[in-house]
């Protein structure tokens, strides 16, 4: 095969891999944000075995995605070194690398917190439930769990690995982070954001959402010295909420 042909093939292969990694990155983001929602209920009145099981499953999924992604990224970036990759290509790969590492660090932070909280609120016995904090959350993680289940990653069905328990997961991630940083030297600061500041504010939402202030609308008591109106409420909502 001519060299030109080889380089074009190489280029195409790399592009495919990069796309795969992008999608995996999005999936990882989804899983970690769901994990955070679950972890926020640890130790509260909504805590329970269901929650913890869901957390374990989410964690396992995240583990699978992250190991696969790390392997592919390392391959991509160490290949790119020797191969005939353009500067643009390399930049894309580096960007993916930086994003992945940031996601891993953020996830590790959540994992450590979860580990401490589970240690603090063990829930082994019945009376442990008495010390759970009454935060006002009732139960509501079913939707989140469903969201986790819907996550697709390119290699999830292919590679089946047993998910580690929490401690091992944390140590495993730490090792993975340090190894990755040692193996491939990527200058973090050379990566730039693809979108400008405040861009996400202008994006359209799926459906118009209520702000927290609207949601926190309180009923107005009619006879009124102690009106408990929240500050910035629009007249329309007021009308709805008014209790005579």
């Amino acid at each position: 095969m001519s060299r030109w042909r080889r380089s074009v093939d190489g280029l195409a292969a790399r592009r495919r891999q990069q796309d795969e990694c992008e999608r995996a990155q999005e999936a990882l983001s989804r899983v970690t944000s769901c994990f955070q929602q679950l972890a926020a209920s640890l130790g509260s009145s909504a805590d329970g075995s269901f929650l913890r099981d869901e957390m374990d499953e989410t964690r396992g999924l995240a583990h699978r995605i992250s190991t696969g992604l790390s392997r592919r990224l390392v391959r991509l970036l160490s290949d790119g070194d020797s191969g005939t990759s353009g500067v643009e290509d390399r930049k894309v790969s580096e960007r993916l690398w930086v994003l992945f590492l940031s996601a891993l660090e953020s996830f590790l932070y959540d994992l450590r917190k979860a580990y401490d909280l589970i240690g603090q609120f063990p829930l082994r016995h019945r009376y442990d439930r008495r010390s759970l904090v009454n935060t006002g959350c009732i139960d509501g993680v079913v939707g989140v769990a469903a969201r986790v289940a819907s996550v697709q990653a390119p290699w999830l069905t292919l590679e089946e690995e047993p998910s580690p328990d929490l401690t091992n997961h944390i140590t495993g991630l730490e090792i993975m982070l340090s190894e990755m940083q040692l193996r491939v030297p990527v200058p973090f600061w050379s990566v730039e954001a693809t979108q400008p500041a405040w861009a996400e504010a202008c994006g359209e939402l799926e459906e118009p959402d209520d702000t927290l202030e609207d949601l926190m609308e309180v009923e107005v008591v009619s006879n009124d010295t102690s009106s408990r109106m929240v500050a910035c409420c629009q007249p329309a909502c007021c009308g709805l909420g008014f209790v005579g």
Binding site: Q37, S102, I138, V191, E192
Partner: protein, 656 residues
């Protein structure tokens, strides 16, 4: 006994000790007990009802009951729990206090509890701001916008991740049921109010830098650990002891003296910047301000250490000493401080300089210390180190404290300062004004700039000091009468063919002072006197005609004045007796006229004196003039000149 080290305490007090967090957690868990805990009620909102809301008065009542304390203290305790972030208010979420009425609060979920083991990450804050941005379509509060822009700049490399994560978290949160969603949003918002407080909010977790070591972590019991315990115990045994009555008396006296000056215990005029965000107090109390405040001036009367440690007070004291012509004591003390706290590289030079300026025999600013201290100091100077001048410094300090300090407080300088001191009125801000102040908060002058200004000021002072002192001696006759008593100057009777005055790198006040005199007058005066012929001949040769004329006039004045020679070895009337003795003068004596030139190199200080009444005052010598002096004085009197070390440019000045 006095309380020391109130300012320069490099001790452990500044590090935050958040051991209260573990204790607060225990209290909080006890509040949860369904039977003995705080009563909760549902919060009715428009869209739904959320359980587990508690009222402020219930919390306070529970705390008062549990710990057997009164309502006021329970209220403070409750406010502390809110300020730490364990309980958050549902209304008025930016004010982290407990209101003793029916306003509602809720417990924070343990995931968002404050702790020092998981430091608050800027990444998370960036994600939170991006989420809020999405939700509120770009309408963030001012401080949030500032944070956002800053984080966008510094976290640009992970910004894509931040936005992606924000979107995902936003969508994940929407999966929850509405009441839970509201609760989670409240929790998250409360968390960030505590850890990134908006201006005007006082949060207990906003404490600055973390300790290096976690106070809750168990320490490993290695041999090193026991070694440290042993050293600590041994030092405790060796510490000097004071009777408790004495130390308690000192504490009581200190508290009583400083009570009105403490911004926690009394009012702070015009207003405490930490409370009202108005920085007038700081601008009025800058280190080198022109007109100090009345409180500040009052503090100077508390102790000598207070006076010296305040830069403005020290300036005032320096002014007073200048009027009394005993400024060398303070200058010496300051030189010693500089040596103690300065850089190690320049230490040797500094020690030498100080010795030559203040301690050596015949030094220009000789200080009066007793023989024993002088002996110790000189011996120590052979191998100088930071504290070599400590004994002398202490002696001078006590001298100033016992003698000058008292006179200072009765002096017109001080009385003038007291009269001019200002006492600002108290600010009375309305709530709206307070908010405006909070919005207008800006960082102050950078410490780098402050340090530069300080250095410039010090350099200016060092440059000015001796010349201005000289000025008093060289102005016309009446002042000179002060020194007329010194008459036992060894005779040096040969012709005073020393040419002319110093040509200073910086404008000499002498030249400034005498500039106005007309040239012709001087020349006429110069005509008489045999020695003047020399000078007249010389003047065309000199580059600087006017200065030489000044020299002549100076000589005339001094001649007219009286006999004495001004000994610049001492600028203080106190040293009259010392000044007379020729032993203080450097080895050059008029008896050995020809010694002048070579001696000059050997000795740093040479006091150049003419035969009386021709006395020359040469604050500065330049190279050229020394050549000429040498030439002139070949047959003439022994020359003695004082070269101020920090201004002389001559090569023989070792420290240059």
């Amino acid at each position: 006994m006095t309380i020391r080290n109130t300012l320069r305490d490099h001790g452990q007090r500044y590090r935050p000790r958040m051991a209260c967090l573990k204790k607060a957690e225990k209290v909080l868990l006890e509040m949860q007990d369904p039977k003995t805990g705080v009563k909760s009620q549902p919060q009715r909102l428009v869209i739904t009802t959320i359980p587990h809301a508690i009222t402020g008065e219930d919390i306070i009542a529970w705390l008062a009951d549990k710990f057997h304390i009164d309502a006021q203290e329970a209220r403070s305790f409750g406010s502390m729990l809110v300020a730490l972030g364990y309980i958050y208010p549902l209304q008025d979420h930016k004010r982290l206090v407990i209101k003793p009425d029916a306003s509602l609060y809720r417990f924070q979920t343990p995931y968002f509890w404050p702790t020092q083991q998981w430091p608050v990450e800027d990444t998370d804050y960036a994600i939170y701001l991006a989420k809020r941005n999405i939700r509120k379509k770009g309408i963030l509060e001012l401080h949030e916008q500032e944070h956002y822009n800053r984080l966008h700049k510094w976290m640009n490399h992970k910004w894509d991740f931040i936005v992606m994560q924000a979107k995902e978290q936003y969508r994940a949160a929407k999966e929850r049921k509405k009441p839970d969603r509201v609760v989670f949003d409240c929790q998250e918002r409360a968390y960030w109010v505590v850890h990134r407080p908006p201006p005007g909010t006082v949060s207990a977790m906003d404490y600055g830098l973390d300790r290096l070591v976690d106070p809750h972590a168990d320490e490993a019991t290695t041999p090193d650990y026991y070694e440290r315990i042993m050293i600590f115990t041994q030092q405790s045994i060796m510490r000097p002891r004071v009777k408790s009555s004495v130390s308690i008396g000192a504490l009581v006296k200190y508290c009583a003296t400083y009570h009105n000056h403490d911004p926690f215990l009394s009012k702070c005029l015009p207003s405490n910047p930490w409370l009202t965000d108005d920085v007038t107090y700081w601008t009025l109390n800058m280190p080198y301000v022109e007109i100090p405040t009345k409180m500040r001036v009052e503090r100077w009367t508390f102790s000598f250490a207070e006076l010296l440690s305040d830069p403005r007070g020290r300036d005032d004291f320096r002014l007073f000493l200048k009027k009394e012509f005993s400024g060398e004591n303070l200058a010496f003390w300051e030189g010693c401080e500089d040596l103690k706290w300065g850089e190690a590289a320049t230490m040797r030079e500094k020690a030498e300089n100080i010795y030559k300026t203040f301690l050596a025999r015949g030094a220009p600013r000789w200080i009066n210390i007793d023989g024993k201290t002088m002996e110790i100091t000189v011996k120590g100077l052979k191998h100088p180190h930071r504290y070599v001048l400590d004994a002398a410094q202490t002696h001078i300090y006590m001298l100033m404290k016992k003698d000058s300090y008292g006179r200072y407080q009765k002096s017109p300088v001080f009385k003038d300062t007291v009269k001019k001191a200002i006492c600002p009125d108290e600010h009375r801000f309305t709530d709206a004004q307070l908010e405006q102040n909070a919005r207008k908060r800006r960082p102050s002058v950078s410490p780098i700039i402050l340090r530069q200004m300080e250095r410039e000021q010090r350099a200016k002072m060092a440059a000015n000091v001796d010349i201005t002192q000289l000025c008093r001696f060289t102005t016309p006759v009446p002042h000179l009468a002060v020194y007329s008593g010194i008459s036992d100057f060894p005779t040096a009777n040969t012709s005073p063919s020393l040419p002319f005055l110093a040509h200073t790198p910086c404008p000499s006040p002498i030249s400034v002072a005498l500039d106005s005199t007309s040239a012709s007058e001087r020349r006429a005066e110069a005509a008489d006197g045999d020695a003047k012929g020399n000078l007249a001949a010389r003047t065309p040769a000199a580059g600087n005609v006017s200065k030489s004329r000044m020299a002549l006039s100076l000589r005339r004045l001094l001649k007219r004045g009286c006999t004495p020679t001004t000994m610049f070895a001492s600028l203080s009337p106190k040293c009259h007796s010392a000044a007379g003795t020729s032993s203080r003068i450097q080895p050059i004596s008029p008896d050995q006229p020809s010694q002048a030139p070579p001696r000059r190199i050997g000795n740093f200080f040479q006091i150049k004196v003419d035969i009386p009444p021709e006395c020359r005052i040469y604050p500065i010598e330049s190279e050229d003039e020394e050549e000429e002096n040498r030439a002139a004085s070949r047959g003439g009197v022994g020359t003695k000149e004082i070269i101020c070390p920090w201004e002389s440019l001559t090569p023989h000045n070792g420290t240059g």
